[in-house]
Structure formats: structure tokens, C-alpha cells
């Protein structure tokens, strides 16, 4: 993980988020969200929210199939983390789904 804990230099202020949040799979991201507090998600959200437009403009340069550097890859994964936590922060105000079907019975396959 340490070798991947880098970001393109214009986003280096977000480097401390990489190890915890630049996760590879939707399962890992969802599990991380569900095991966080809303305060932790709020804090991550406010860090990323103000940078998301720049991040998205940066990521627009890359096609989906091309090989990206570890730094670019980490930035892409952080952007996905933003989308994972956005409903929790913006809509539910809860890391989990209030009155939702239990997450342990709802399997993310892909």
C-alpha cells in the first residue's frame, strides 16, 4: 500500500487519504463506508468535494483501458470513494441505509 500512497503532485494535499480510501473494489469501498462514522464520512467528503471538479478534469485525460501510473490510479480510486460516500453524506446522513435490508445479506458481486 505504501508504494501506492502517492498522488499526482497537484493533488498531493490529499495523500493522507490514499491508504484508507483509495480502495480497489466496490466491496471494499462499501465495507469501509459502512464501518465509518458519519463524522468520518463528512470529513472525507469535505476534503474531496472541493477538489472533485479538478480531479474529474484530470481523469478525463485517461481512457478506461490504458495503463495508468500508481499515482493516477490512486486518484481515480479516491474519486470513486467520493461517489461511494456521497449518498451517505448528502442523502441518508448515515453511513448505512436507515431501515435498509441488512448489508451482510446483500452481496456485491461486481
Amino acid at each position: 500500500m505504501t508504494s501506492r500512497a502517492v498522488l499526482p503532485k497537484e493533488f498531493s494535499d490529499l495523500t493522507d487519504l490514499v491508504e484508507e480510501w483509495a480502495l480497489e473494489t466496490p466491496q471494499a469501498l462499501n465495507s469501509k463506508r459502512l464501518n465509518s462514522t458519519i463524522e468520518q464520512l463528512d470529513s472525507l467528503y469535505s476534503r474531496l468535494d472541493q477538489r472533485m471538479v479538478s480531479i474529474m478534469c484530470y481523469l478525463q485525460k485517461f481512457s478506461v483501458s490504458e495503463e495508468t501510473s500508481d499515482a493516477d490510479d490512486s486518484l481515480y480510486r479516491l474519486a470513486r470513494a467520493f461517489m461511494e460516500i456521497a449518498p451517505a453524506v448528502e442523502l441518508f446522513r448515515d453511513p448505512d441505509i436507515p431501515d435498509g435490508f441488512p448489508s451482510e445479506k446483500f452481496k456485491i458481486v461486481l
Binding site: 470513486r80 456521497a86 448528502e90 456485491i108
Partner: protein, 399 residues
């Protein structure tokens, strides 16, 4: 607001009385459904992208039938479907891995080898079998056909009705839309303590959106003009049905995530769509509503595909008892042109997943209460006509 209805069955045909719930709890009723419906119809089992290349194979479960289906793609590109049952002592021919690329399949019990056309090509110590011809012991096959990249099988080797005839007017109304350009981007799975009809009912009307989804999607779906999320039209076929779901509340203040989706191409889910209907076939958004979001296409008995302008998602409901259902969900989106579009598309996957967990939780609660028999029947509104229709269709098949 008015909503149009184009139905082969009028409300009069379908009745207006409360619909009894005993078909959702009675084990005997389920056994009849299994024998008289599920063993006699075309069933969606997968998608062409599950096995794109010649030589690809895939084992898929058909839980209601209690079987596994081995799908293979031949050198020429055609698909074949077989029961995953060795014709010797009935072991599973393939245990793991459940997918890959192979020309032959060897049963792990005694080493019988079959090819991707299902022929038995090798039997160890064959001379010990008396009056034995390998050609009589190929894998048992199912019928297979595809529609808009969805792969269907029929448990019978020679069904009376082709897939085309089974889909009938749906095929005419919906083919040629966005489906073929989409590829799977997310899949979910759950085993839910609920009857398959009650489960599917949860996704056949938009009446619940304002209440059940008040935290999630109600804000973007429900407008002042359409406060109860009335549908934008239904089409009720002999077995199947289509219901148009409207969205696109003009007063909705988009969240920051939704703004990113809008700006970077995450697709039209939840936004409604003004114009741009040219590429839609006539049967989708049949009424050409400006605030159309997606159509719910129910292919009887257990497959639903919700189709928007640039996305789709599917549900397969596989009952394994009167009150238990295996559920598979897949989301389909356009190929992302770049990484930011991929990130933006991710929002729909997350939001839909979260919203589904709101939906499914009601179904187990409803089922427990139906099991008690206390209420016994459901009064259904005109907005819930698709539910009423399916109960009638099931009843007709069991007669």
C-alpha cells in the same frame, strides 16, 4: 396529471377487488407454479457478455428448477446450453471454476469427457460397458436463444413456442433500443425470505417512491406536477407488461455528486430526460413524456429489465420455496469513454444499490405478515395494475 394506459387488459378484465395473498404463502401453490410455469417457459439465465469468446463456458444456477446450466460458446459463435449433469452417475460435470475457456469438460468422478457441443468423447475403460454407445450419452441439452444480448433457456429440448413468439409484441416494441450498446458494470445477489411475486411487486409500481425512498431518490423523481409519481403509461400484454416511470423533478436542487454526474457523463438515471427520444423504439416511453426516466419491462415470469436512455438494470427472481427467493441484479451502462466518466457512472451504481436496500427491507416484513394470514388480501390502485395483472396471469397458467 393524467397518465395514459394502453392495455390489452382493461381494468375491468383484471377486476378491482382486493387481490388475495394466499398465492404468496401457500407451499402447494408454489409447487404448481414451479411445475406449470417455470418448467414450461423461457427463462433468462445470463447475458452474452458473460461468455464473449469462442470456447468460453459458464455454469449458471437456475435455483427454481434445482439445476445448474452449462452455457458454452462454439467456435462459430453460437451458444449452447446443457444440464451440468454427467450422464454416467449424475455428478456435476463442472464444479470449479464455474467459468473459463475450454474445449472439453471432464467429470471429476470417473473422468468422462464431453466437448462444448455436449458430445461424450471419452470414457475411461470404455470396454467394460456392455452394449454401450457414447453417442447416446451426450449431455442433456436445454433450448437456448438470445434477445438484445440477454440469454434465455427453455428447460425443454424442443419447446412449442420460440423465444421470439414468447416475447411477442415486447420484442417488436422494445428491440433496437439502447440495450445492445450497454455492458454490465455492477452485480448484486441476495437470498430473501419472500415470495417471488411479492418481491417482484416491489419493483412494479412507483407509488412507493415518495414514501419509501423519501431519503434517497424521492427528491429527484417527484415533482409538484406529479406528487405521487404516477406512471407515464402502461402496456399490458398477455403475459408480460411495461410500465413507464417518470422522474426529473424540475425543482430538485442537484447534490454535488449529481452535478458531477451531469457534468462528466454519468448517465440519465433519476434525472428525467427532455427530448432525445429519437433513438428509442416506439414501445419505450411510449407516451413520449418529457420527464421520462425508464421503463420497467416485465418478462413473465421472473425477469425484469428496467431500460433508460443510456442505462438498464435487470432483476432475476428465482423462487426456491413459497417464501424464499434467490435474487440477482445487474446494472448495464454505456462503455465509459474516459476515467472521469467511469467515476461519474459509479454514482448510479451506488445510489441504485442503496435504494434497493430500502426496497428489499419492506418485502421481508410484508411476507412475515402475509404468512400470518391476518389481512388476507391487498387492495391495489390503478397505479399498481401491473401487480394485479401478474396475479391474474399466474392464475391462468395454473388452471
Amino acid at each position: 396529471m393524467s397518465s395514459s394506459s394502453d392495455t390489452r387488459y382493461s381494468l375491468e378484465d383484471l377486476g378491482t377487488d382486493p387481490v388475495p395473498t394466499f398465492p404468496c404463502v401457500d407451499p402447494g401453490y408454489f409447487l404448481e407454479e414451479k411445475e406449470k410455469i417455470f418448467k414450461r417457459v423461457w427463462l433468462n439465465i445470463g447475458h452474452e457478455t458473460d461468455l464473449p469468446n469462442p470456447g468460453d463456458f459458464l455454469v449458471k444456477s437456475a435455483p427454481t428448477l434445482g439445476i445448474e446450466v452449462l452455457l458454452t460458446r462454439l467456435e462459430g459463435g453460437e451458444l449452447r446450453a446443457f444440464y451440468n449433469i454427467c450422464t454416467h452417475r449424475n455428478n456435476k460435470v463442472i464444479r470449479s471454476p464455474k467459468s473459463g475457456n475450454a474445449r472439453t469438460f471432464s467429470c471429476g468422478f470417473h473422468g468422462w469427457v464431453f466437448n462444448s457441443q455436449g458430445e461424450l468423447i471419452q470414457v475411461p475403460d470404455e470396454d467394460e460397458f456392455v452394449d454401450f454407445k457414447k453417442c447416446s450419452f451426450g449431455l442433456r441439452s436445454l433450448s437456448i436463444d438470445t434477445w438484445e444480448n440477454f440469454v434465455f433457456v427453455h428447460p425443454e429440448e424442443a419447446p412449442e413456442v420460440s423465444l421470439q413468439d414468447w416475447l411477442g409484441e415486447v420484442l417488436v416494441d422494445v428491440s433496437g433500443g439502447p440495450l445492445k450498446a450497454l455492458r454490465p458494470t455492477a452485480k448484486f445477489h441476495a437470498i430473501v425470505e419472500v415470495n417471488w411475486k411479492v418481491f417482484s411487486d416491489a419493483f412494479c409500481e412507483a407509488y412507493h417512491v415518495g414514501t419509501l425512498h423519501k431519503r434517497s431518490v424521492a427528491g429527484s423523481f417527484i415533482s409538484r406536477e406529479n406528487p405521487f409519481c404516477h406512471h407515464g403509461g402502461t402496456r399490458i400484454y398477455e403475459n408480460h407488461s411495461i410500465l413507464s416511470v417518470l422522474g426529473g423533478n424540475p425543482d430538485h436542487q442537484p447534490t454535488n455528486a449529481e452535478k458531477l454526474v451531469g457534468e462528466f457523463g454519468g448517465g440519465s438515471y433519476g434525472k428525467g430526460l427532455s427530448g432525445a427520444f429519437d433513438r428509442l423504439p416506439p414501445g419505450l416511453n411510449r407516451s413520449r413524456h418529457d420527464s421520462w426516466n425508464f421503463d420497467i419491462v416485465n418478462i413473465f415470469p421472473n425477469f425484469a429489465v428496467h431500460i433508460g436512455a443510456d442505462f438498464a438494470y435487470t432483476y432475476n427472481f428465482w423462487p426456491i420455496s413459497a417464501t424464499k427467493t434467490v435474487w440477482d441484479v445487474a446494472i448495464y451502462q454505456e462503455p465509459a469513454r474516459n476515467l472521469s466518466e467511469e467515476v461519474a457512472q459509479n454514482y448510479m451504481r451506488v445510489l441504485l444499490r442503496d435504494t434497493l436496500r430500502e426496497d428489499v427491507n419492506t418485502t421481508e416484513a410484508s411476507q412475515l405478515n402475509m404468512n400470518s394470514g391476518v389481512v388476507g388480501a391487498m387492495p391495489l390502485s390503478k397505479q399498481e395494475i401491473v401487480l394485479r395483472h401478474r396475479y391474474k396471469v399466474v392464475e391462468r397458467w395454473l388452471r
